[in-house]
C-alpha cells in the first residue's frame, strides 16, 4: 500500500479570493430561483389540503377493508382471530358465529377496528390466512367528530373499495 497524497484545497490564490466560489454558488441558487419563478407549478411540494397526493399506491397502508369471496360476494373472513392476536395495539374486536351457508365453518358476527388505537402496522394483513383483511384502500385521512365514528364495524369495512387490481379475496 502506497501513500495517497490528498490535495489540500483552499490554498491557491484563486481559492483564497473566495470570489469565484461565491459567484458559482450564487449562480446555482439563481438557477433554482429563476426556474421556480418561471414555472411555480413544477415545484414538487404538494400543498396538501388543496392539492391531494398522487403517489398513493396499493402497497400504501391505508384504512383497512374486509374483502369479499369471489363466488358469492360474501365475507371472506373466517373469524380465526389471527389478526386480533397479531395486533400490537389490540384494536380489533371480533365475535365469531357459525356459518350456515356451507362455504366455511365460521364467520365474524362483529368485526370492529378502532382506528384511534390502530397504529397502521399492517401485522393483521400479514397474519390473515384468508386474505380477508387488507390495507389497500388508499385512504390516508380519517376524520370524525366523535370517538365512536372511528370504530369501523363489519359493514363499513366491507363497503370500502380497494385501489389494487385484486378486488376479491385471493384465498383458495
Amino acid at each position: 500500500m502506497g501513500i495517497k497524497v490528498v490535495h489540500r484545497h483552499g490554498n491557491t490564490f484563486k481559492e483564497k479570493m473566495y470570489i469565484s466560489a461565491i459567484f458559482s454558488g450564487m449562480k446555482t441558487t439563481l438557477k433554482h430561483f429563476s426556474t421556480n419563478l418561471k414555472d411555480a407549478t413544477q415545484i414538487p411540494t404538494v400543498c396538501y389540503p388543496d392539492e391531494k397526493p398522487t403517489d398513493i399506491t396499493p402497497r400504501y397502508r391505508g384504512v383497512h377493508r374486509l374483502t369479499h369471496r369471489k363466488e358469492d360476494n360474501s365475507i371472506a373472513c373466517v373469524a380465526c382471530f389471527m389478526c386480533a392476536t397479531a395486533c400490537p395495539s389490540n384494536c380489533i374486536d371480533i365475535v365469531a358465529m357459525a356459518r350456515e351457508d356451507g362455504l366455511d365453518e365460521k364467520m365474524p358476527k362483529v368485526f370492529n377496528i378502532d382506528l384511534l388505537e390502530c397504529v397502521f402496522c399492517g401485522y393483521c394483513v400479514e397474519a390473515c390466512p384468508c386474505d380477508a383483511i387488507r390495507m389497500d384502500s388508499g385512504i390516508y385521512s380519517v376524520v370524525g367528530e366523535t370517538r365512536e365514528e372511528f370504530i369501523y364495524d363489519k359493514e363499513k369495512l366491507l363497503s370500502i373499495k380497494g385501489i389494487s387490481k385484486e378486488e376479491y379475496s385471493l384465498a383458495k
Partner: protein, 421 residues
C-alpha cells in the same frame, strides 16, 4: 403644497423603513423557498385574498404585537434590557433619514429637499447611526444576563469594530472620487457618462463597491456574517432572552438596517434615484418622450405579469376567484395610470418637476428592491463564516485592500486634477 413637500420625504422614510418590512420578510421567505425548490408561505388570507403570501407576514407581526410581554426574573438591569431593542430599532430607522429619494425639486422658486433630514453630512450621519445600531445589540446581550446572549453580543461587537474600519475606508475612497460628502451631489456626479458607460460608483470603483457591500453585510449582521445570532451555536445570540415585540423590534431593526444600507449602496454606488445617462434637467426637458417610454414599459410589464400570474397560480384557495380579482385590478390600474400619464404626455399638464420626482422615486425603489434581492440571495447561498474567518477577512484582507484602494484613488485624483485635460 408647501408643507406637504416638506413632509413628503419623512413619509417616504416611514414607507421605506417600516412599510417595507413585511414585504421584505415575505421576499425573504418566498425567495428562500424558491431557491430551495419549495413553495413558501401561500395560505394565509383575508377573505380568500392572499397577495401571494404577504398576508402571512402581516399575521406574523400581529402575533408578535399581541403576544404576552414577559420579563425573565434573573434580569437585574431592567432598564437596559428594555431599551436595548428600541436603540437597535431607532438607530436603524434614523439611518434612513439622509437618503435622497429624488433630486431637489424647485416649485414656484422654492427648492425642497427630498431627504428627510436635508443635511450636508449625509455619509457621516449614516456611519454614526449604522454604528450605533450595534449598541442596541451589545446592550441587549449584556443586560440579558445569559451566556448565549453575551456571546452573541460580543461577536457582534468585535465584528462591527473590525468591519467599520474597512467600511469607513471604502467610503473615504468614494469621497475622494466624488469630492463631496453630500449624498445628493454624489448622485448628480453619477449621472455623468464615462465614455459610454454611466459613471456609477460601482463602475469607477469596483473594489470599493465590493468592500462596502461585504462590510454592509457584516454591519447589518446578515448572513454570511450573522455569527452574532448563529442559531447552530448560541441559540439565538443576542436576542435569546427576548420575546414578543421586544424580539420583534430586533427583528424589524435587522430588516430596516438592511434596507438602509441597501439604500446607501444604491445611492453611492448604483446611481441613486437617477436613470443612467439622464440627469434631472434632461428628464424635465424631455418629459413627454420619457413619459411615452414609461407608458409602454408599464403596459408591457403588466401584460407580462398577468401572463406569469395566470400560469403560476397553483390552486384556487377559496370560492372567490382570486386570480380574476387581481387581473381586473391590474388591468384597471394600468388603464387608469396610462390615461393619467397620456394626459401629461400629450402636453396638457404643466408640472413636469413633480412627474420627474415620482419617476425618480420609482427608479430608487426598483434599485433598492433589486439590492434587497441580492441581500436575500446571498443569505440563502453562502454558509455562515466561522468566527475567526470573519475576523481574518476583516483585518487581513478587507482593511489592506481598502487602504490600497485609497492610495490608488488619491494618486489618480491628484494626477487628474493637476495634469488632466
Amino acid at each position: 403644497m408647501n408643507t406637504f413637500l416638506i413632509l413628503l420625504p419623512l413619509m417616504m422614510t416611514m414607507l421605506y423603513s417600516l412599510a417595507t418590512v413585511p414585504i421584505l420578510v415575505w421576499m425573504e421567505r418566498r425567495i428562500a423557498a424558491f431557491i430551495q425548490d419549495r413553495v413558501g408561505p401561500n395560505r394565509c388570507n383575508i377573505g380568500g385574498i392572499r397577495l401571494g403570501g404577504i398576508i402571512q407576514s402581516i399575521a406574523d407581526m400581529m402575533k408578535l404585537v399581541f403576544k404576552e410581554e414577559f420579563l425573565p426574573s434573573h434580569i437585574k438591569n431592567k432598564l437596559y434590557y428594555l431599551i436595548a431593542p428600541s436603540i437597535a430599532f431607532v438607530s436603524a430607522f434614523l439611518t434612513f433619514m439622509v437618503i435622497p429619494y429624488a433630486d431637489n425639486i424647485t416649485l414656484n422658486g422654492e427648492t425642497y429637499h427630498m431627504q428627510a433630514l436635508p443635511t450636508e453630512l449625509g455619509v457621516l450621519w449614516f456611519l454614526a447611526f449604522a454604528g450605533l445600531g450595534v449598541y442596541g445589540i451589545i446592550l441587549g446581550g449584556w443586560a440579558s444576563h445569559s451566556k448565549f446572549a453575551i456571546l452573541g453580543s460580543m461577536r457582534a461587537t468585535a465584528q462591527v469594530i473590525s468591519y467599520e474600519v474597512a467600511m469607513g475606508l471604502a467610503l473615504v475612497s468614494m469621497l475622494i472620487t466624488y469630492g463631496t460628502i453630500n449624498l445628493n451631489e454624489m448622485v448628480s456626479y453619477q449621472t455623468q457618462s464615462f465614455f459610454i458607460i454611466p459613471a456609477w460608483g460601482a463602475i469607477i470603483q469596483p473594489l470599493a463597491t465590493i468592500i462596502f457591500i461585504v462590510t454592509a453585510f457584516a454591519e447589518t449582521n446578515r448572513a454570511p456574517f450573522d455569527a452574532a445570532e448563529s442559531e447552530s451555536e448560541i441559540v439565538a445570540g443576542y436576542h435569546t432572552e427576548y420575546g414578543a415585540m421586544k424580539f420583534g423590534l430586533f427583528f424589524v431593526a435587522e430588516y430596516i438596517a438592511m434596507a438602509a444600507s441597501g439604500a446607501l449602496i444604491v445611492t453611492i454606488f448604483f446611481g441613486g434615484y437617477q436613470l443612467p445617462y439622464l440627469s434631472t434637467s434632461d428628464l424635465i426637458n424631455h418629459f413627454e418622450t420619457i413619459l411615452w417610454g414609461v407608458i409602454i414599459f408599464a403596459v408591457l410589464t403588466s401584460i407580462l405579469f398577468l401572463r406569469w400570474m395566470n400560469k403560476n397560480s397553483r390552486f384556487e384557495f377559496s370560492s372567490n376567484n382570486e386570480t380574476k380579482i387581481y387581473t381586473t385590478l391590474i388591468i384597471g390600474f394600468t388603464f387608469f395610470a396610462t390615461i393619467v400619464m397620456a394626459y401629461y404626455a400629450f402636453g396638457f399638464g404643466e408640472t413636469h418637476e413633480v412627474g420627474v420626482m415620482i419617476l425618480q422615486f420609482v427608479v430608487f425603489t426598483v434599485k433598492l428592491f433589486v439590492l434587497h434581492f441580492v441581500f436575500i440571495w446571498v443569505r440563502w447561498t453562502l454558509p455562515r463564516f466561522r468566527y475567526d474567518q470573519t475576523q481574518k477577512l476583516g483585518w487581513n484582507i478587507l482593511l489592506p485592500l481598502s487602504l490600497a484602494n485609497i492610495f490608488i484613488t488619491a494618486i489618480v485624483v491628484v494626477i487628474g486634477v493637476n495634469y488632466g485635460n
